[in-house]
């Protein structure tokens, strides 16, 4: 494509973008699509076709191709830009009308579609413009070496050495600087302490104390006959209902299991056993109970713990047993904690 046609294309496009010309051009192109051979779109094309018919010169063919290319490109680009602008207008319309009438999350769909078409069609138009209406040629250049030329490097070295040589008491400066830097690191290290209270004793706290009632989330205490065998409840110590670390799962072991494991469940008061409900693997609540196998399961990484075997892990990535809460039955028939958990509840850590 020659420079002449290029600039003509640019001028044409300027008109397309800024005037009503756009519609006329688009309409003309659509019409030309159906009848381009018989009714050439422009005077040049007509002349070229005449030339071609009479002389069939190569120059005329090229001219036709160029003009058609330009027209096609203009049509495509105009179409996409027009779609984009229409989508932008519809975005505004949806936004303002919806906001005036009633904003609803359901407006997300039309709003998002019109926003997407606005950007997407404009982007497509831009890329088509680059493909059809901009000159593209492969450029080639020599690369420079990534390293500086040796002379420049030496000049820099010299500048540094000359400056350094002028400094007196260099060792003093270096020593003081190093000392201050080390101190600064220590100071920053200290200030980190402001970001958190000391982890201990909060981390190793076993939450329960002897004699505390087992309260459900609604605050009601648990008595010996509250749970049916084979069912579970989430319980908390008084004053800590809903607290993450305090959550405890209370299981009333099914009758069948009591017969199967007499030596184990002797330790259980009336078939009740209780464990920390915080998984020892990554801290999710161990919220599922499988009655037939008497396994507690954590839904996050599917670790399982055997209720009949002191909460030992039986599968999945957990490696420590669930901390156990020993129970006893008070004179009034309520279940009480016999002490704290057998270990700090929650995922493991270095000092555990």
């Amino acid at each position: 494509m020659s420079d002449d046609q290029e600039s003509r294309g640019g001028a044409l496009l300027a008109r397309v973008l800024f005037g009503w010309e756009a519609l006329r051009l688009a309409a003309g192109q659509i019409a030309a699509l159906f009848a381009s051979r018989q009714r050439p779109g422009t005077a040049e094309e007509a002349a070229a076709v005449r030339d071609a018919e009479t002389g069939s010169s190569r120059e005329a063919d090229r001219l036709i191709r160029n003009v058609r290319h330009l027209n096609w490109g203009t049509f495509l680009v105009t179409f996409f830009f027009a779609v984009s602008l229409a989508a932008g207008v519809s975005f505004m319309g949806i936004y303002w009308v919806a906001d005036k009438v009633h904003w609803d999350a359901g407006n997300t769909l039309p709003l998002g579609i019109s926003l997407g078409v606005f950007f997407g069609a404009f982007g497509a138009g831009l890329i088509l413009h680059a493909q059809w209406l901009m000159r593209r040629s492969e450029a080639i250049e020599l690369r420079e070496s990534p390293a500086s030329p040796p002379e420049t490097r030496e000049e820099a070295d010299h500048a540094y050495a000359a400056g350094t040589a002028d400094v007196q008491r260099r060792a003093l400066l270096t020593g003081m600087g190093t000392g201050a830097a080390a101190l600064l690191v220590a100071m920053v290290w200290s200030v980190l302490r402001s970001l958190a209270s000391p982890p201990e004793p909060a981390l190793s706290d076993t939450v329960w104390t002897r004699g505390q009632k087992l309260l459900r989330a609604d605050g009601k205490p648990i008595s010996v006959d509250t749970l049916q065998p084979g069912s579970t409840a989430v319980v908390f110590p008084p004053g800590q209902i809903g607290f993450e670390k305090a959550q405890t799962v209370l299981v009333r072991v099914p009758q069948r299991a009591l017969e199967l494991w007499p030596d184990r469940v002797d330790r259980a008061a009336h078939g009740y056993v209780a464990y920390s409900r915080v998984c020892t693997h990554a801290g999710c609540p161990v919220g599922m109970f499988e009655e037939t196998t008497c396994l507690l399961m954590c839904p996050c990484h599917q670790s399982t713990f055997n209720v009949l075997d002191d909460g030992q892990p039986t599968g999945g990535p957990a490696s420590r047993p669930l901390p156990q809460l020993r129970l006893y039955v008070a004179d009034d028939g309520t279940l009480r904690a016999a002490g704290g958990f057998s270990q700090p509840p929650g995922p493991g850590y270095w000092g555990m």
Binding site: T108, G112, L195, A282, Q302
Partner: protein, 452 residues
């Protein structure tokens, strides 16, 4: 005219013409795979734009409040102020849900583009000297992007987000010696603690994005100075750069790509629901959420945590929980390997050359096979991250699926390595044979020409 006038005005003051001329003539190679990094860059721009809008409404506070907004499903429920403000964004702010979904989609695409870009750089050997610095910066950007994605969905305060935060806390806690302090300093105490959300919010909207922006600028400045690599082809040598000039075609195409990406993200946000936080409810440390998975780019760590056997390491009176190995040491080793790879390769192959022409993947059977087997390992872990869902769908027991995945964790990468190595080596051999045959033929032609 306006542009020229402004350019003159600026040039009178800060001498820009020379730079402008260089910039407009800067050559970019034309290959689709060079767009992957661009997509990552533009996703980041979209993240900043949408994130700024969301920050106008988000309330980074753990304070307990009662919800009484238009979403009746949670009417009267006590929740964190943060979660309440995200419900407000989703149901009451005009275009709020759209922008929120765009933000989340853009994050997923950001990470996807980074991974694809990383793979392209690896498989074509673009990390080789002199571009090792950009390899290191790029990996750091990848880490920062993962971190910020995690921080982003952790501050929302829904049940899924709180569960993820709980697991992150457990991973920090598991670090030997300093774990307790690390977890407390990062999250402000035994979570859910009051300082957690404000602290993570500050990191999410300022510290990490600032680091990403700074390193991104450096990443681009370095490649601008070094120039891109070229795929092998005619006239492409170590001393030349071949491609399109920045102005005007490349500029138009690149901005076009940005706009199309923006359009695709807006379209996804409109059509495909993502992270419906209202359905999960507020974070309650005692509530159970089965079938929970993190965003896809953390799936490999989640998978590692699930597949790792239940073992502890006891060092005298001290404990190193198994979670430390799967949740922290494994990702550190993966990234450590990635960071060091160019330097190890350079050391082993005694390679001190600058490389400006890329190699096709089949030209380097070992590196390609290694990269593919690493990707296969990640794929197995990604499946493992949803192994409960897989077991349910296949009607198999979770235990058997997990054993199968443990075997696959070792077997699939090994098999991938062998197969890919064989395929690449075969292709390489055939290309050599073809080249030799071509040479033979041209020599024969020369002979007949000279004898005749």
């Amino acid at each position: 005219m306006i542009v020229r006038g402004l350019a003159r005005w600026l040039d009178r003051r800060v001498r820009l013409a020379k730079f402008t001329r260089h910039a407009l003539n800067h050559i970019f190679p034309d290959h689709w795979s060079f767009m992957l990094g661009e997509i990552a860059l533009y996703s980041f721009v979209i993240l900043v734009l949408t994130g700024t809008f969301l920050a106008m409404f988000f309330n980074a506070s753990s304070a307990k409040e009662i919800y009484n907004g238009p979403y009746l499903g949670l009417d009267g429920v006590t929740m964190s102020a943060a979660y309440k403000s995200v419900l407000h964004i989703s149901f009451e702010v005009p275009a709020g849900l759209l922008v929120r979904q765009m933000h989340h989609w853009a994050a997923l695409i950001f990470l996807g583009a980074i991974v694809a870009h990383l793979a392209r750089i690896f498989f074509t050997g673009a990390y080789r000297r002199p571009r090792e610095i950009n390899w290191v910066i790029g990996l750091t950007l990848f880490l920062l992007a993962i971190t910020n994605g995690y921080l982003g969905y952790s501050i929302v305060g829904d049940l899924l987000s709180g569960t993820g935060l709980r697991i992150g806390y457990a991973i920090l806690l598991s670090v030997p010696v300093i774990g307790k302090w690390l977890a407390y300093i990062a999250l402000g105490g035994n979570i859910p603690a009051d300082p957690t959300i404000p602290r993570l919010y500050g990191l999410h909207i300022f510290v990490v994005p600032a680091l990403i922006a700074g390193l991104l600028a450096l990443h681009l400045a370095i490649i601008w100075r070094q120039l891109h690599t070229n795929y092998p082809g005619p006239r492409r040598t170590n001393r030349t750069i071949v491609g399109s000039r920045l102005w005007p075609s490349y500029t138009a195409r690149s901005i076009g790509l940005f706009l199309i990406l923006f359009g695709v993200i807006a379209g996804l946000a409109a059509l495909v629901q993502i992270d419906p936080i209202w359905a999960y409810g507020p974070y309650d440390p005692t509530a159970v959420l089965p079938g929970a998975q993190p965003d896809w780019y953390l799936g490999w760590i989640e998978g590692a945590m699930r597949l790792f056997p239940g073992v502890n390491l006891h060092l005298g009176p001290y404990l190193v929980p198994g979670l430390f190995f799967s949740g922290l040491l494994f990702p550190v080793l993966v990234f450590g390997g990635l960071y060091l790879y160019p330097f190890i390769e350079q050391f082993i192959t005694v390679d001190e050359q600058d490389h400006n022409v890329l190699r096709m993947p089949w030209e380097r059977p070992f590196a390609t096979a290694l990269g593919c087997s690493a990707l296969m390992m990640m794929l197995v872990l990604l499946v493992a991250a949803g192994d409960d869902v897989v077991a349910l769908a296949l009607g198999a027991s979770l235990q058997s699926i997990r054993i199968l995945l443990r075997i696959l964790f070792f077997a699939a990468p090994a098999a991938t390595f062998l197969v890919i190595h064989w395929l690449c080596a075969r292709r390489k051999r055939r290309e050599h044979e073809r080249a030799r045959a071509d040479e033979e033929r041209s020599r024969a032609q020369v002979r007949t020409a000279s004898s005749g």
